[in-house]
Structures are given as structure tokens and as C-alpha cells.
């Protein structure tokens, strides 16, 4: 492992590490545009110049591997002068339209100009003009004038997705990012180019003009879109709600996790949050009598559900859990099942169309927590369970989240099962055809409205945190289940997700020894 000195600090790095990454290790930031740790080295922006002792001229750090005994200086006068020059070159043809640019506030031209530029502009000539506001695909729009031709987006489509939609056309200062003829930027990961574009050239059509980025708050979370559980940040607009017509979740951004998703997320996950602020959200507990739906207080709903469970023999209760529930919810459910001796449970609902899967991130299982549900012991045959309901052997049928009509289960069978049960209870975030047939509807908080953990397909337990308040009276499922448990006379139930997790860790061997603290931001593997 080569040992080198950067700005006087010694550091040892694995062979092959470049100077940008080596410098990061000693807390030194080397400014750069075209370098991205997930992509090949292009060496195009020329901003990452550093001085290396015994080298006559400043050298680009991205293409220089750390070597034994190397002595690197990143803040010499000539390095600073070179940076200033490169900043000037980057900006001479730039339109400087920050006031109307969506990237403003998170633009690396703005950031680096303030840090490394601050020169007196002297370009008085006509700038090169290029196309503006060109949609490249369903999610991404291009402003070619703002593009600094770092080629990150091109390399992403060449190297990560292998789809090669983008190229740099023409030469010199007329060089321009664009689509190859007949192509559209519509690959399954297209949104990532917006994240890696250091400037306002590629912006997100969904997010564009919604809210200025400095009004956003970020919360660490995990994507619930499939069994991979990509790490994300949830960006929330609390401070200017009127800017986005009440939409609270402004966007999702990938959060680096080397073991799960590296730097990327898929488009389905990125744009899959719209249900959170959708009109279909369930916001109050309610009771249905025929066509009439009455909002009720939580207490009333909880005692009614508890009473229904108590009236029924354990064998007359069936529960369709969901692998979209967090480990904490599933553990609370498990406790309730044990408390009442309920055996009819399952969580795997066959999808109507098989989930899309690829060799990169996307998993066919569109649930974030199937492995968690399995490890917590909720495996069971849902078809048998519904058959029992059709045969009128089930008095209470409690369904979590699923719309059974949107599955591979025959519609008639589902309808018959829902008719066959005396009391149908639905707990979920959003109304659907199944919830409309339930007597009791208990609104659940969406994942961004609460804390919890998922166990991804690898067995990695990962935390997600609360980014916004639950809508209306919605509650986390563990909370709902805890209240029902109490109404059923169970001993005290935990008041917080973290305490439920502690119980789970103490009870289920796969989770033994895990705590929220140990899980941290990157997750921890279960024991198997």
C-alpha cells in the first residue's frame, strides 16, 4: 500500500487509488468536474490540478495514481492560479442564467467560482449559443449552453447502463451534448445523469421549477421500490409549501452505499414517491356500513378491531401481511399473532405481471422487506388463507397494504374471500379496491413519514428516517398494532420504532445484536 504525503499529511491508500480519493482521506478536497468515482477517468475539465514534488508542471489528480513517497501539494500559488484560469475558461461561454436556473444553489460552477474563481471577467465577445430546454427523455431536460462538457452523462450511459444514448457532437467551443439520431434518454436509470451533471445542463423534468433547492431539507432513507433497498436522501420542501401546491416530498436522490447501490438509483424508485402526497391517501380511521363511510376516532377503531379479534377464535382470523411493512411493524404483528394464537398468515401476493429485473440494481421483488417478513416468521400460503375465507372459515380478515385485486389472484376468488369474511380490516397508506371493501380502514403512515428498517435481499438491515409528518391521522403500522395489542390486554408495547426493533433483536436470532446505532447509515447484515 503506497504511503504518500498530501499537504503535509501522511496517508496510506490501496494501490491504484488516485490523488483525488487519496486527498479525501486526509480531508483535502481537490476541486473537479469531470471525475466521478463511479465512472472512468476522462481528464477533461482540467480543474483537479495539483503540484507533485519533482514534477515540472501541475498535474491532474484524477489520472495520477498515488505512489510510494509521493509528495503532493494542492494549494500552491501556481495550483491556485491554474484553478482560477480553468474556472475562467469554464465560464467564458456560459450563459450565467443562474436566476432562472434550477441548479442554482447546488451548482458546482457557483460553488467553485466562489471558492476558486473570483477573477475579474474579461470576456467581452459574443458567446456561443446552443439549444436550451431540450427534452432528452421522459425525465431529463437539457440546456446545452450551461453544459461544461464534462462528459459524465455520456460516460454514465456508456459505462453504467450500456445504452449509449448520449454523445458529444461537433468540435471546439461548438461541442454539444445530444442524443444520437433516433434515440431517447429513456433507460431505466436516466435520472442519475441529473445527479452527476455538476451544473444546470441536465435537470429533472419532475422537479424543475418546483422549489429552490435552498428551501429543501434532506433526510436519510431507503427506497421502498424493490428488494434492493437503494440508499436515498428524501428532499422535502417544508419551508415553501405553496411553491409546489402542497407537495411535500420534492425529490429523491441516491445516497452512496458501496454495498447496495453505489452512487445510483433507478427511475422507478426515484419517481415512485408520488403516492405520498396523492389524493388517494387514507388520512382518518373509518368504518364502512354498506355504502356509508364514517370517520371514527382511533380509540374507537382500535377497540372495534380488538373486539372483532376477541370475538373470533384464533383459527377464524387470517392476516395478509405485507413485505412493504418495516421490520418493526412485522414484529409488532408477529407479537399480535402470538398473543392471539393466530396461525393463518402470509405476505407474498403474486404480482399480476412479474416484476422487472436486471443484472444491475433492479430486483423483480417489488417489496423492500420480503426477507425481513420471512425471518420474522410470517411466511404462509395466502391462497389457502383466502380459500378459507371463501369457505367462510374466517371471521376476521386483516389485510395490510395490498390491493388483492391488482394481483395474479383471480378477481372472483378475491371478491368471494372478501365477501366471505365477517369483518375485513384494511391497514395501508392509500385507498384501493381492497380497502373499499373493508369494514375498518386504519390509515398507515408512508415510509417517509416514520422511522423503521427494511431487510433487503442481501440480508442487509437498513434504516429509514422520518422526513415529514404523517398525513392526517395516519400512524406507523407498529403503532396501530401496538394499540390493538394493548386493547387486547397485552403487556406494555414499545412507544417508538427503535424500541420495537430492540425487542425484535432480542427475540429473533437473525437480528441478534443489532441496534439502530449499529445499523447506522450504511446498514448491517442479519445473521443467517
Amino acid at each position: 500500500m503506497p504511503r504518500l504525503t498530501i499537504n503535509g499529511g501522511e496517508v496510506e491508500v490501496p494501490p491504484g487509488t488516485n490523488l483525488i480519493e487519496a486527498a479525501r482521506k486526509v480531508g483535502v478536497e481537490i476541486p473537479h468536474y469531470c471525475y466521478h468515482p463511479g465512472l472512468s477517468v476522462a481528464g477533461q475539465c482540467r480543474l483537479c490540478m495539483v503540484d507533485i514534488e519533482k514534477t515540472p508542471r501541475p498535474t491532474i489528480a484524477c489520472n495520477t495514481q498515488a505512489a510510494e513517497g509521493m509528495v503532493v501539494w494542492t494549494e500552491t500559488d501556481r495550483v491556485k492560479e491554474t484553478r482560477r484560469s480553468v474556472m475562467e475558461f469554464h465560464l467564458i461561454n456560459h450563459p450565467l442564467d443562474c436566476p432562472v436556473c434550477d441548479q442554482a444553489g447546488e451548482c458546482w460552477l457557483q460553488i467553485y467560482y466562489m471558492k476558486h474563481g473570483l477573477y475579474e471577467p474579461r470576456m467581452m465577445d459574443e458567446k456561443v449559443h446552443k439549444p436550451k430546454a431540450v427534452p432528452l427523455g421522459p425525465h431529463v431536460i437539457l440546456d446545452a449552453e450551461r453544459c461544461i462538457l464534462c462528459s459524465r452523462c455520456v460516460r454514465f450511459c456508456d459505462e453504467i447502463t450500456g445504452t449509449g444514448e448520449l454523445g458529444i457532437f461537433h468540435r471546439g467551443d461548438h461541442s454539444e451534448i445530444g442524443l444520437f439520431p433516433g434515440r431517447e434518454l429513456a433507460n431505466k436509470y436516466s435520472g442519475n445523469v441529473v445527479d452527476i451533471c455538476p451544473v444546470g445542463a441536465l435537470t429533472d423534468r419532475d422537479f424543475r421549477f418546483q422549489v429552490r433547492v435552498w428551501y429543501l431539507d434532506a433526510t436519510k432513507s431507503v427506497c421502498p421500490g424493490c428488494a434492493r433497498g437503494c440508499n436515498i436522501d428524501v428532499h422535502v420542501n417544508r419551508r415553501r409549501p405553496h411553491h409546489a401546491e402542497g407537495r411535500r416530498v420534492a425529490r429523491l436522490k441516491p445516497r452512496v452505499n458501496a454495498d447496495v447501490n453505489t452512487w445510483w438509483i433507478c427511475d422507478a424508485g426515484r419517481y415512485g414517491f408520488t403516492f405520498v402526497d396523492d389524493k388517494t391517501r387514507l388520512v382518518t380511521p373509518s368504518r364502512r356500513d354498506g355504502e356509508a363511510v364514517t370517520d371514527v376516532a382511533w380509540d374507537q377503531a382500535v377497540s372495534a378491531v380488538a373486539a372483532a379479534l376477541e370475538r373470533a377464535a384464533p383459527g377464524e382470523v387470517a392476516v395478509v401481511a405485507s413485505a412493504k411493512m418495516a421490520n418493526e411493524d412485522l414484529w409488532a404483528l408477529r407479537r399480535l399473532l402470538v398473543h392471539r394464537g393466530i396461525r393463518r398468515v402470509g405476505f407474498r401476493i403474486p404480482p399480476r405481471v412479474p416484476g422487472d429485473e436486471d443484472a444491475f440494481l433492479i430486483k423483480a421483488d417489488k417489496n423492500p422487506n420480503s426477507l425481513g417478513a420471512e425471518l420474522i416468521g410470517l411466511e404462509g400460503n395466502v391462497r389457502d388463507l383466502l380459500a378459507a375465507a371463501r369457505a367462510r372459515q374466517v371471521k376476521v380478515l386483516w389485510i395490510f397494504g395490498h390491493d388483492l385485486f391488482e394481483s395474479a389472484l383471480p378477481e372472483a376468488d378475491v371478491a368471494a374471500a372478501l365477501r366471505g369474511a365477517e369483518t375485513v380490516i384494511f391497514t395501508g397508506t392509500s385507498a384501493n379496491a381492497t380497502s373499499e371493501r373493508a369494514r375498518w380502514v386504519l390509515p398507515a403512515a408512508a415510509w417517509v413519514e416514520r422511522e423503521g428498517t427494511y431487510t433487503n435481499f442481501q440480508g442487509r438491515v437498513q434504516r429509514f428516517r422520518r422526513a415529514v409528518e404523517p398525513l392526517g391521522q395516519a400512524l406507523a403500522e407498529w403503532d396501530i398494532l401496538g394499540r390493538v395489542l394493548q386493547a387486547l390486554g397485552a403487556e406494555a408495547t414499545p412507544p417508538r420504532a427503535e424500541r420495537w426493533f430492540r425487542e425484535l433483536a432480542a427475540a429473533v436470532p437473525a437480528f441478534a445484536g443489532l441496534t439502530y446505532q449499529a445499523i447506522g447509515d450504511a446498514g448491517v447484515m442479519v445473521t443467517r
Binding site: R46, S85, V86, F89, I92, G167, S175
Partner: protein
């Protein structure tokens, strides 16, 4: 100083491009000889000859060949740079048209030295006749059994970009990509065409190799200076009586070249300036031409031998206009990959154009100089330094002429 002609010795024959004519003048005897030599011995001979690259950079050829990794087991490629894009340079086209077998023989020997089984010849797209002649010669060489027994040659035509003459831009283009130069390291000798060790040499450089093998390194070295052996072909253009190509010792002075070989300044004009090595070389004033035209002689004179494209300007030539034309060329030809070159070549062209059109500003000259100096040495390839050569030297040496055009 008109040394014996090597490269152009057969140019007088109308059939010099044919195999028969080449064989009659002793062709392919060096290849016979080289087949008895160990690859390392060939490289050593070329090193001793002081042959230096004639494409532009003047790098010692034998040394370059020795960079091929010794223990590499996969393919090695030999690439011949026949892109000849440097303004003021028109020698390689004659070699392709009139002495194509010298290039093929040189390639056979070079390929043996570096253990390449495949050679590519990348010919400038506009060179239609040179391409036809060379392709016909390749066919003759296959038919005669010189090629196809250990070395295959692929002829590839460029598509008109100057940057595809830069060796790694050429490699990108050869690979089917946009002609973008590659970041170095790795250098082509380690990881070049299609990821394999590759030697890129100019046409003229390789045409010299049979002569070195035939007549020995010491003889070749003796034709030139201490640090550069042999002759080279000077392309002389501009305001001279007899523009054209002249083969001469690399040790010839610019004065002898212009006045003795090219017949001096045309008309009754007076010499004003000389660009000695293609448009990328720094300009020399009329009083600076008593220097030898070899790589180190011109380097010491603050310019470069480059591709030996000698552009002669007399007193009728406006230096600001000349710079504007050169600046337009570099703005048009920058591949656009790296920021300083992409952005500043266009800007500098705009400034030179304004000056020529009488709309210059007081600060323009200092801005050009400052921008050029800041960008120099910061880019992926030598293209930008090639542009900086004229930007700085034209202004520094003829500043008054520029200032006269700038309104007060």
C-alpha cells in the same frame, strides 16, 4: 548542404511508385537484412542512428520502440501516421504517392523490431491519390509475398479532422470512436490501439528505416547533427520563388533552405518572417533564420522543427491577419474535449478577428497573451500548446503591427 537524397531519390522516375522501380533501386534488400537481425538489434541500430520522429514531436524513434513492454504476450500494433494535417506540411503525400514501397519496407522492419503482426496506415481523408497509390503498392507487396507473411497492413482513411493526426486522437479514430486524444498515462506504447501496446510513427520516419538498416546507423547519424541523424523533407511554402518539397540534411540552416534551395523571396520582396515547423511552431523574424533546422537547433531558437513545414512571409504579409487565420484554424480544429483549449481557442480567434477588423480593444493583446500562457501546458494533448506557439510569438515579435490596428 544538399546532402544525398534518400527519401526522394526516385522521385524523378514516373514509375517510382511501382514495385519494379523500387526493386531496381535496391528496394526490400534492407528487409532481407533485417530478417537476420534480432528485434532488439534493429531497435538498437535505429537508436544509434539518431533518427527522430518527423511527424512533429521529434521523439527519438528507437527509444520509442524500446518502450513496448518486454513480456507482453498479446498483439502489438504499428500505426503509421499519414494524416498530415499540420498547415504548411505536404511531404507525406509525396512519399505515399511516389515511394510507397519504402513505407511498406520500413513497416516490415519496424514491425519486426516491436514484434507487431499488424500495421495500420491512417491516411488523411483528402489524400485520394496518395491513398490509391499506397493501396496499390500494398496489393503488390501482398502479391510478392512481402506482406501477409508475418505482417498484415490495414489502410484506413481519415475523415478530415486535424486532431486525428495527434497520435492518441488517431488511435481513438482508428478504434471507431470520435477522434478524441486520450489522457496519458497510459502512453500508447503501453496501452494504445484497442488497448494493446502500439507504436505510432510518421510516414517519413518509417521511410528512413530501410536506409538505416542498409547503410548503418553511423552513416545515417553522420548526415545530421550530434543529436539528430539523417535528412528530412522540408515543405516550403509562402512567398518564395520555388515553393515545394526539398530533402536536405536536418542540419541545413533555414537561410540556406529558403535562399539556396527555394530560390529566395518571390518577386522583389523582403523577408519578414518564417514559421519553420508547421503552423504550430513559433514564428521567427527575418533576422532569426541563421539557425540549423534540426529539432534541437530550432528548440534553442525558441521555436520547433515540428513537421518541417516552412512557411515564408514577406513584407506584404500582415502578421495580425496571419495570426487571425491561424487562430481560426485552431478554433475550428480543437476537438473540444478539454476546457482551456475548447473555450479559449474560440475566444482568442474572436479577439484577433476584432483587431484585424479595426475593433480591437486596448487590453486585447495582453488578454490573448495571458490567456494563452495560462492555458499552455494544462491540456490533454499538444494541440493547445501548438496553438499557443503562434498566439504568443506573433504578438510578442510583431506587437507594433497589432497595436497599429487598435483604435485609440
Amino acid at each position: 548542404m544538399t546532402a544525398e537524397k534518400l527519401l526522394t531519390r526516385n522521385f524523378g522516375r514516373a514509375d517510382s511508385h511501382t514495385l519494379r522501380a523500387y526493386l531496381e533501386s535496391g528496394g526490400y534488400t534492407a528487409w532481407q537484412k533485417a530478417q537476420a537481425l534480432e528485434p532488439a538489434a534493429i531497435t538498437e541500430e535505429v537508436k544509434q542512428s539518431n533518427l527522430r520522429g518527423l511527424g512533429g514531436a521529434g521523439f527519438p524513434t528507437g527509444t520509442k520502440w524500446s518502450f513496448i513492454p518486454k513480456h507482453h504476450t498479446g498483439p502489438v500494433y504499428l500505426v503509421i501516421n499519414a494524416d498530415e494535417g499540420e498547415p504548411g506540411t505536404f511531404k507525406d503525400r509525396y512519399l505515399l504517392e511516389r515511394e510507397p514501397h519504402a513505407l511498406i519496407e520500413g513497416m516490415l522492419i519496424a514491425a519486426r523490431a516491436i514484434r507487431a503482426a499488424k500495421g495500420f496506415v491512417y491516411i488523411r481523408g483528402e489524400y485520394v491519390e496518395p491513398w490509391r497509390r499506397f493501396s496499390a503498392a500494398v496489393k503488390e507487396a501482398y502479391d510478392a509475398g512481402y506482406l501477409g507473411r508475418g505482417l498484415d497492413v490495414v489502410v484506413h482513411r481519415g475523415a478530415g479532422a486535424y486532431i486525428c493526426g495527434e497520435e492518441t486522437g488517431l488511435i481513438s479514430s482508428l478504434e471507431g470512436k470520435k477522434g478524441w486524444p486520450k489522457v496519458k498515462p497510459p502512453f500508447p506504447a503501453i496501452k494504445g490501439a484497442f488497448g494493446m501496446p502500439t507504436i505510432v510513427n510518421n510516414v517519413e520516419t518509417i521511410c528512413h528505416v530501410p536506409h538505416i538498416i542498409n547503410r548503418g546507423a553511423a552513416w545515417f547519424a553522420s548526415l545530421g547533427t550530434k543529436t539528430q541523424g539523417g535528412t528530412r523533407i522540408f515543405s516550403v511554402s509562402g512567398r518564395v520563388r520555388k515553393p515545394g518539397i526539398y530533402e536536405a540534411s536536418v542540419a541545413i540552416t533555414l537561410r540556406a533552405l529558403i535562399y539556396e534551395l527555394a530560390g529566395g523571396v518571390a518577386g522583389n520582396g523582403r523577408l519578414k518572417a518564417v514559421v519553420p515547423g508547421g503552423s504550430s511552431a513559433a514564428i521567427l523574424r527575418a533576422d532569426e533564420i541563421d539557425v540549423t533546422a534540426d529539432v534541437d537547433g530550432l528548440r534553442n531558437a525558441g521555436t520547433m522543427a515540428g513537421s518541417a513545414g516552412v512557411i515564408v512571409m514577406d513584407e506584404t504579409v500582415s502578421i495580425p491577419e496571419a495570426l487571425m487565420v491561424v487562430a481560426r484554424f485552431y478554433a475550428h480544429e480543437s476537438c473540444g474535449q478539454c476546457t482551456p483549449c475548447r473555450e479559449s481557442t474560440g475566444w482568442i480567434y474572436q479577439m484577433t478577428k476584432r483587431i484585424v477588423e479595426g475593433r480591437g480593444r486596448k487590453d486585447d493583446l495582453d488578454t490573448i497573451l495571458d490567456v494563452a500562457r495560462r492555458g499552455a501546458g494544462t491540456t490533454i494533448c499538444a494541440f493547445y500548446d501548438g496553438a499557443v506557439g503562434p498566439y504568443i510569438s506573433y504578438i510578442e515579435k510583431f506587437r507594433a503591427e497589432f497595436e497599429a490596428l487598435i483604435p485609440n
